[in-house]
Symmetry: C2
DNA sequence: CGCAGCCTTGACCATTATCAACGCTGGTGG
DNA sequence: CCACCAGCGTTGATAATGGTCAAGGCTGCG
């Protein structure tokens, strides 16, 4: 299931170029406010992974043995109902953390949606590290707190926003969450399929497609390809996202 | 806005009867795994609050000056859209923590839905306490992680479950989250109105009411009063909650 | 006793899901 | 080099779930 990458340093975000770029780009990344000695210890314990699209980092109900730090690519985190309905609870990008959940099995699944590099730590190592590295714990608490705020926003979206508002919000938040998704002039790269966007926004692929068309017709966005679009009118998009359109 | 309670001890959950009961009932309560000396310091810094139904603990966009620990009663946490649509992101009960969010303004509002007692700490004190009390930080990280898992479940509910599944899930999780809501023989006390249940589940009051009626007709629940009901068939309710009914 | 607030029920409506057909695109193999 | 195919995306027609609007009932309190 896992392919271990030969490159063996920089997992904590200090040496490896990818990871470090991610760190600098993200105010709350794991390596922020952790000193050199601690980073060295982290690096020593890290296992390096390289995954193809579709490969899993975690599976719901499997033993929760590891925690992960994404260093490049994108990951979908989701939960399923018994009949197969899927809710994607978040997308993860370079710098994001995965697997903090307490309990001894994962309660969600996580899979690469494009080639991903990540590093992972055994949960036992991770717990020891946390005990010995207060700065790490502070950083993780900060991150968890941020994720909680993001989760509240997503609940507002799923519970109370219309399809048009959901898609508009998504198009604004994707580049805000991951600078690597953001090109110049409001250009946005979408690594995920319509099905994944739909399962993230609590809609169907048809509805997502229709809303894209509506936004295009209104001149708010321009579709450059299936995986790239340009925001032509950010103000209008923001107004739509908050229900003022 | 705040009425300070005269009772001046036990806010950290050690002395005051209410709070301590709550602590013992909840494996992850704030006082768990914190030693006596630390608890004493916590108590020394706590301000004690007593709120009537409808009074606010926090308001979205106000300066985030305090963190709170609920010691009795119930609280609604919610976000609003500009046009007034409301999403309740969670209900808090005795033992729950509030206000961990980073940033210098609150991003949610929190109000008592029945008489509430709580204690609060200045954010500056709280930050210092965290630095000086690793056990507190560990506990808070655990709690945040649990809340994150709960938030993912709620996203699954809001994004993919039907009205019947949502209400069934709610009736099962309310007593699971707060033992004080659970009477004997599957009896459940609902401190919140239909409007609050609706805004928590992403539905309207009419739909919530109709689902209650359907569950009643099917013999799954029995309504004892507006604020109390009895689960007659927990297995059926569980099946409905997961979409197998 | 009467009123206010909340809840329930009913009729109708709208948004979004479902079902179906078609189109585009990229990869593969003749 | 082109044709075909598979997978994904778009568009259209229809259906259903839940929302909206409206009326009436219950309950607790003054």
């Amino acid at each position: 299931m896992f392919e271990t990458n030969a490159v063996s340093s920089g997992c904590a975000g200090r040496v490896d170029r990818n990871a470090c770029d991610a760190c600098r780009a993200r105010p709350l990344s794991v390596c922020a406010s952790i000193d050199e000695a601690d980073l060295d210890r982290l690096d020593g314990l890290a296992q390096h992974l390289s995954l193809q699209a579709g490969e899993a980092l975690t599976r719901a109900d499997d033993p929760a043995d590891h925690v992960f730090n994404i260093t490049s690519g994108s990951v979908r985190v989701y939960k399923l109902l018994p009949d197969g309905r899927r809710q994607i609870t978040g997308f993860l990008f370079a710098g994001d953390f995965l697997g903090l959940a307490t309990g001894d099995t994962y309660v969600f699944s996580a899979e690469a949606i494009e080639p991903v590099t990540a590093c992972r730590f055994r949960k036992s190592d991770y717990r020891r590290l946390i005990r010995e590295t207060p700065a790490l714990e502070t950083t993780l608490l900060d991150r968890a707190t941020h994720e909680l705020a993001a989760a509240q926003n997503q609940m507002l979206l799923l519970g109370r926003k219309t399809a048009l508002e959901r898609v508009s919000t998504f198009l604004l938040e994707l580049p805000a969450h991951d600078p690597a998704r953001r090109g110049p002039d409001g250009r946005v790269h979408l690594p995920m399929t319509r099905a994944e966007i739909a399962d993230y926004l609590g809609l169907t692929i048809e509805t997502v497609s229709r809303v894209f068309t509506r936004l295009k017709t209104r001149g708010v966005i321009r579709l450059l390809s299936l995986t790239a679009l340009q925001i032509e009118n950010p103000e209008a998009l923001l107004a739509l996202a908050e229900g003022e359109g």
